[in-house]
């Protein structure tokens, strides 16, 4: 790949997905885009770049963006965020939303569904306290391809063994040949929508809990700040945002501030909160 091709791809991906690629990512670009070349019968990466220069939105353009932005995921990834959901966020939400009995959760980089389904399993474990509640988990991702897999809810042996306790496998999955399908009950709790975080997302409505993990790391600072500020706007005044272990709001925006006790957990900042139209008395 020539310098010019790499520079074009960096610029192209930045505009379409916000992905900020440093010069050290050259190898990543080559390894992720070579299979795309083969799929579209393009002999070299230079041919791929040449085609991208000439064409508008289409299957090739989508494939390039998806190949570069699809990230690894597994059930209960990193464990701590899910312990936090079970032990802190869900009990707080149950206390704060007792009147409306309505809870909306957003998994902002849902990928192939493991994160939203992990959250759904934890909601299910608290079913006794949530009888009569309306719980909605919205999973979004830039890639329509991964969302298709998420909707199917079918996972390989390898995927169900990574992070998923066997008791939950037995409880929530059925075997379909060599694969495992998530139960209709859990699947029914999650809805999936394609979304580019660089585009407006007001249409998704307001959320009580937002999981936005391991996606901001790919953006440059101004893009991170923009996305975080818009997430803060989509958050209920007493809601919570959880970011990935390597992500922070510090130095980027004051729209979200750390929830002192818990690493990775954020709430609306004071200035932002004062501007919010309504605030619930019982915060969580």
């Amino acid at each position: 790949m020539t310098e010019a091709d790499f520079a074009f791809l960096r610029d192209y991906l930045k505009k379409r997905s916000g992905l900020a690629l440093g010069p050290e990512k050259r190898y990543l670009v080559e390894s992720r885009l070579s299979p795309v070349c083969r799929r579209f019968n393009l002999a070299t990466l230079s041919d791929l770049v040449g085609t991208l220069r000439l064409s508008r939105e289409g299957p090739l353009e989508r494939a390039v963006v998806e190949a570069m932005t699809t990230n690894e995921t597994f059930f209960f990834r990193d464990r701590v965020p899910f312990d936090l959901f079970r032990d802190v966020l869900l009990p707080r939400a149950i206390a704060a939303r007792g009147a409306t009995r309505r809870l909306r959760i957003w998994s902002a980089a849902a990928s192939t569904g493991q994160e939203p389904y992990s959250l759904a399993m934890l909601v299910h474990e608290a079913a006794a306290q949530l009888a009569g509640w309306q719980i909605e988990i919205v999973g979004t991702d830039l890639s329509t391809e991964v969302l298709e897999k998420a909707r199917l809810g079918l996972y390989s042996h390898f995927e169900v063994q990574r992070g998923l306790p066997v008791q939950l496998l037995v409880k929530h999955f059925t075997q379909v040949g060599e694969q495992w399908r998530i139960s209709p009950k859990l699947a029914g709790m999650v809805s999936y929508r394609p979304l580019n975080l660089l585009q407006p997302f007001e249409h998704l409505g307001q959320f009580d809990i937002v999981y936005c993990r391991n996606v901001l790391i790919y953006f440059d600072a101004p893009t991170k700040a923009d996305v975080l500020e818009r997430i803060a706007k989509a958050l209920a005044p007493d809601g919570a945002v959880l970011l990935g272990a390597a992500e922070t709001v510090i130095g980027l925006t004051e729209a979200l501030v750390p929830d002192g006790q818990h690493r990775g957990l954020y709430r609306q900042g004071a200035t932002h909160r004062a501007a919010a139209p309504q605030r619930l008395a019982a915060g969580f």
Partner: protein, 128 residues
């Protein structure tokens, strides 16, 4: 050092599992059948047992039942390890007292995930 026991009638699986556990800082013994496994447990109870389901003479289910009746036999975390991956077999293993289930073929990453799930801190050494 924490201790592990690999029980499998396949020498290849024993070798692979043993090597993985050793890189994760376990001191490992192995047994090719249930009787030998139970004898080793009676001698010194391991912290974790990787137990094959399908073995001649005494299968994994029987080994587990006997193990849990030994003094201190409730302590080891038992990971069932087999190619049998139907949900009935998994449920039966859990009822018999298994803590986790590993489907073959497995690799170090899966083994690490399962050990983590049953409460072991697993970190790859720098050189691994």
């Amino acid at each position: 050092m924490r201790t592990g026991l690999v029980v499998d009638d396949s020498a290849v699986i024993r070798k692979v599992a043993r090597r993985i556990l050793e890189t994760l800082d376990f001191s490992v013994r192995d047994a090719e059948d249930g009787q030998k496994a139970l004898a080793l447990c009676a001698e010194e109870m391991p912290a974790v047992v990787l137990l094959d389901w399908n073995m001649p003479n005494m299968d994994g289910y029987d080994v587990l039942r006997h193990l849990r009746q030994l003094p201190g036999g409730d302590r080891p975390k038992v990971l069932f390890c087999t190619t049998e991956n139907d949900i009935g077999a998994i449920a039966r293993a859990l009822r018999a007292g298994a803590d986790e289930y590993i489907m073959k073929p497995f690799d170090r990453e899966i083994m690490m995930a399962k050990l983590d799930q049953v409460g072991f801190t697993v970190r790859l050494p720098e050189h691994a």
